[in-house]
């Protein structure tokens, strides 16, 4: 009930006045008698009547107080919220992440969760509706709202766990989007772990009812694995592996790393409770194919005990640099092993369009950009008539005031305090985004159209301390990654479960065949590249075949949250309520002052009747 006019409650002040008036009421007349003992006998026989008399004496006051209470309530304009649809709607969100494979006494957490879901579903009424959401790496609706519980159970039985981490936040958000807002809907979240996003969501939305699955388990998992070629040493690899003990007991177990040709590493690893260790092993020799690392231990989750990695493929970027001399930039490009750089002091106008098309990235250092150029450009104080960026003068010693921290180009960059001797004052149109801004002019801008991507420097790095900062190679690498992401992505030979495999398709209408770790093939007709294959929920080695070329991509869990099976202890318990009021309640507000007024009249007449009865008694 809600009171819409609180000043109406001031009427309650009449209650003490009423009590005062009653206390001032005429006292009973005193009458002297000689046979009081006879009257006492009369009273003993008339106990009920006397009780009724006492009640009658006070009931009038009580009724008058009740009238004032009701009057105050009526004047405060009360209203109640009534649900139109009383049938409950439930959204079942079931975690299918790798952690649900954890075994407890021979039963996986997923099986436990299925039983819990079935049990909870038994509490639903015939008219209650439920839907099913898969809380996996790519949350999806498994079954829409239905009253058909058998159909739900069937779809529930078809659900399987993956080797990937769950995107719980996305799954819950998906479920929330189906809430009607009438306050009766609930989201039953069956999850085996806790992260801050779940806690935040359960706090945010009262409809979420988390159901904790599983007990804390000890587990050891590989949480990091990578391979890279040692710079300057051909056929030599560095193998990085990180192993973490999530249990409360120290453990010792063998680690084995193998290639197709044989075993590279075999050693005993000891980890204290909650300890993580990283190891780097060097490997010499031919190293084609897949490298496998495995820890041999009986623990809660086996999915994180084995990882795979393909040998890094070096696909070089073709970079065309037009400059009259830029020491720092040229030195940096020479250091990048994946860059094949061609340098020219001037723009070769005759072949310019071919150059732009053939090279992945074109860098113009203080050289005007020819008109109608299309491609990926890094422009350093390089202008053109058809550019959305134009020069407006010169700014001396501009001071950095802001930058786009969320931009992939500025990722890991802290330009605060960077000194720039001179910059060109520039302005960009609506198609440009300022990435780095000074108090006088934008310093770095980006521009993106269907056929052109460019990053624009409004200053010469040589006239700043940027090349002397760690940020310089990171910035240039970020720029290259943003300008030409395909080439870099294609280099990936091992990814995490749930992440897509990027397949570079050079020809239109090409059939891409992918063999999963389960040896099943997926064949997809790709109209235009690049193609992202997202069904990577199974850990293992995927074979990607495009036309006659084929390569391997290793997919690993490598997720600390999934490997940490102690999570359920931290899962926030919430009491379940049959009804909840959501923040966007779609309830009907009904004013009830009319009904209360009727009640007042009834009590008023009752009070009159009591007075009448009392007068009759006298």
């Amino acid at each position: 009930m809600q009171l819409n006019y609180l000043p109406g409650l001031l009427t309650l002040l009449f209650i003490p006045v009423l009590i005062l008036l009653h206390s001032m009421r005429r006292k009973p007349v005193e009458k002297q008698v000689t046979a009081l003992f006879i009257w006492e006998k009369v009273m003993q026989e008339q106990k009920h009547a006397v009780f009724f008399q006492a009640l009658l004496k006070n009931v009038s006051l009580l009724l008058q107080i009740l009238v004032i209470l009701l009057l105050a309530l009526a004047l405060s304009n009360p209203s109640v919220f009534l649900n139109k649809d009383m049938a409950k709607r439930v959204i079942i969100v079931l975690d299918t992440s790798a952690g649900m494979k954890a075994l407890e006494n021979g039963t996986s957490r997923f099986e436990t969760a299925l039983a819990a879901v079935q049990e909870k579903m038994n509490t639903l009424g015939r008219q209650d509706r439920a839907m099913l959401v898969n809380c996996g790496p790519s949350p999806s609706v498994v079954h829409s709202f239905t009253t058909d519980k058998a159909s739900l159970r069937k779809r529930l039985g078809q659900m399987k766990t993956t080797d990937a981490p769950a995107d719980t936040e996305k799954a819950v958000s998906l479920a929330i989007s189906f809430l009607s807002g009438n306050g009766t809907d609930q989201i039953w979240l069956f999850a085996d772990r806790s992260d801050e996003s779940i806690d935040a969501l359960t706090d945010l939305h009262p409809a979420i009812v988390p159901v904790r699955i599983g007990k804390p388990l000890s587990n050891v998992g590989i949480t990091g694995f990578d391979i890279r070629q040692i710079s300057g040493r051909k056929n030599e690899l560095e193998i990085y592996i990180r192993i973490e003990n999530f249990g409360n007991q120290p453990v010792i177990f063998p680690l084995k790393i193998k290639t197709g040709s044989g075993q590279i590493v075999s050693r005993q690893i000891g980890l204290d409770r909650h300890q993580a260790k990283a190891f780097v092993f060097e490997h010499k020799g031919s190293s084609s194919g897949i490298i496998t690392a495995e820890i041999e231990i009986e623990d809660g989750l086996s999915a994180d005990n084995k990882v795979w990695a393909g040998q890094p493929l070096m696909v070089k970027k073709n970079i065309f640099l037009v400059t009259k001399g830029n020491y720092f930039l040229e030195t940096l490009l020479a250091v990048f092993p994946d860059c094949r750089v061609a340098t020219s002091p001037a723009v070769p106008l005759e072949t310019w369009h071919n150059i732009c098309e053939r090279n992945d990235i074109v860098i113009l250092d203080q050289v005007p950009l020819p008109a109608k150029s299309h491609g990926n450009f890094l422009l350093i104080n390089s202008f053109a008539p058809d550019l959305p960026i134009s020069a407006k003068g010169v700014a001396d010693a501009p001071e950095i005031i802001d930058w786009q921290k969320d931009s992939p180009i500025m990722k890991g960059i802290n330009p605060k305090g960077m000194y720039i001797e001179t910059a060109t004052k520039v302005t960009g149109d609506d198609t440009t985004l300022v990435l780095l801004e000074s108090d006088r002019t934008p310093l770095i801008l980006q521009h993106y159209t269907d056929r052109t991507k460019l990053v624009f420097f409004a200053f010469n790095p040589e006239q700043s301390d940027l090349p002397l900062r760690v940020a310089f190679p990171v910035l240039i690498r970020n720029i290259f990654q943003w300008l030409d992401p395909q080439s870099s992505a294609f280099m990936s030979t091992h990814i995490r479960t749930g992440q897509p495999i990027v397949v570079d398709v050079k020809k239109d209408n090409t059939v891409v065949a992918i063999r999963k770790p389960s040896q099943k093939w997926d064949r997809i007709m790709v109209n235009k590249g690049p193609f992202l294959y997202s069904k990577t929920h199974e850990a293992g080695v995927y074979r990607v075949r495009v036309d006659s070329e084929s390569r391997f991509v290793a997919v690993n869990l490598l997720d600390e949250k999934e490997s940490d099976l102690t999570g359920p202890e931290r899962l926030k318990e919430k009491k379940q309520h049959s009804t909840r009021v959501g923040p966007l309640g779609r309830k009907t507000q009904t004013h009830v002052w009319g009904g209360i007024t009727m009640l007042i009249l009834m009590v008023f007449f009752a009070e009159i009747w009591v007075r009448f009865k009392r007068s009759r008694q006298i």
Binding site: V29, Q32, T34, A35, V42, Q46, Q617
Partner: protein, 293 residues
């Protein structure tokens, strides 16, 4: 001061000659004829002298003629003691017609008749104890002092009939007639005292004086009833139903007193103060005469 008995009433009393009755125990000579032989002048018989007989009653003439000793036997005319015990507790001051005044009139009338009949008349007033005592005296000239005694009485205190009558019995009074006049409205009862008095040397007579509104209350509504003697209060809403129940209870209480007296041969009279005193008293005397005959 209003005279307790007016002249006309006294004249009426004098014409009634029913007070002297036979068979009352007593030692002093009076107008009541005793069955016991004694020293009055009315000769009854002779009998042989026995050792211990009063030698003054030996008929010496008969001895001279017969040489045998005979003593004269006479009707011993004994006097009677009349003890009037009147309730002077607080409750007696109530009633539309003051109960205490009514009781004073009864006492005065009884006293007058007793004195007129050569009885010794004593008055005892009581509440929850014996308050004042006027010792039994004989002679019509005592009447004025009796009236003075009555005039100075006030109603006060609580009532305890049992304690008072038991106390009276224990005081060693000479035998006689005891007339107890009270409203007998006491939660402590009366039976124990009546038993004590009736079981001893006294002839008990009871006159219950009540006010009409004590039998049939004329009030109702929300009242705080206060006991006139104890001050105890009782709040209640008096309605017709409760009044009817009160009347029923009061009637039962009065009947209980009457039955108790009847069963024990105790002379009992009930009067409410709305009845004119002369009407009541003449009726009382008539009833008493009938009873004695």
């Amino acid at each position: 001061m209003e005279p307790l008995l007016d002249e006309s009433f006294l004249r009426q009393l004098q014409t009634i000659k029913t007070l002297a009755q036979k068979g009352v125990k007593g030692e002093n000579a009076g107008i009541h004829r005793s069955m016991k032989s004694g020293s009055s002048m009315e000769f009854m018989d002779y009998r042989k002298y026995q050792p211990g007989d009063d030698i003054r009653y030996v008929d010496w003439n008969v001895y001279a003629r017969t040489n045998r000793l005979f003593v004269k036997l006479f009707h011993a005319e004994k006097d009677q003691k009349l003890y009037i015990m009147m309730d002077a507790s607080g409750s007696m001051a109530t009633g539309n017609a003051d109960k205490l005044t009514y009781v004073k009139k009864i006492t005065a009338a009884l006293g007058y008749l007793g004195l007129a009949g050569q009885d010794q008349v004593g008055i005892t007033t009581f509440s929850d104890r014996i308050e004042q005592i006027k010792s039994p005296q004989r002679g019509k000239d005592v009447y004025l002092s009796l009236l003075d005694f009555l005039t100075g009485l006030n109603a006060k205190g609580q009532t305890d009939i049992n304690a008072v009558l038991e106390s009276f019995c224990a005081a060693g009074h000479q035998p006689g007639q005891v007339v107890v006049i009270s409203d007998f409205l006491s939660p402590k009862g009366f039976k124990k005292g009546f038993r004590a008095l009736a079981g001893s040397k006294f002839k008990l007579s009871v006159i219950q004086v009540v006010a009409l509104d004590e039998i049939d209350p004329d009030f109702k509504g929300r009242l705080s009833l206060a006991d006139v003697e104890t001050g105890q209060q009782l709040s209640l809403q008096v309605n017709d139903r409760m009044k009817a129940l009160y009347r029923q209870k009061m009637t039962a209480y009065l009947s209980d007193i009457r039955m108790f007296c009847q069963n024990r041969g105790i002379d009992y009279h009930l009067v409410d103060t709305s009845v004119p005193f002369t009407d009541f008293f003449l009726g009382y005397l008539g009833a008493r005469q009938e009873r004695n005959q």
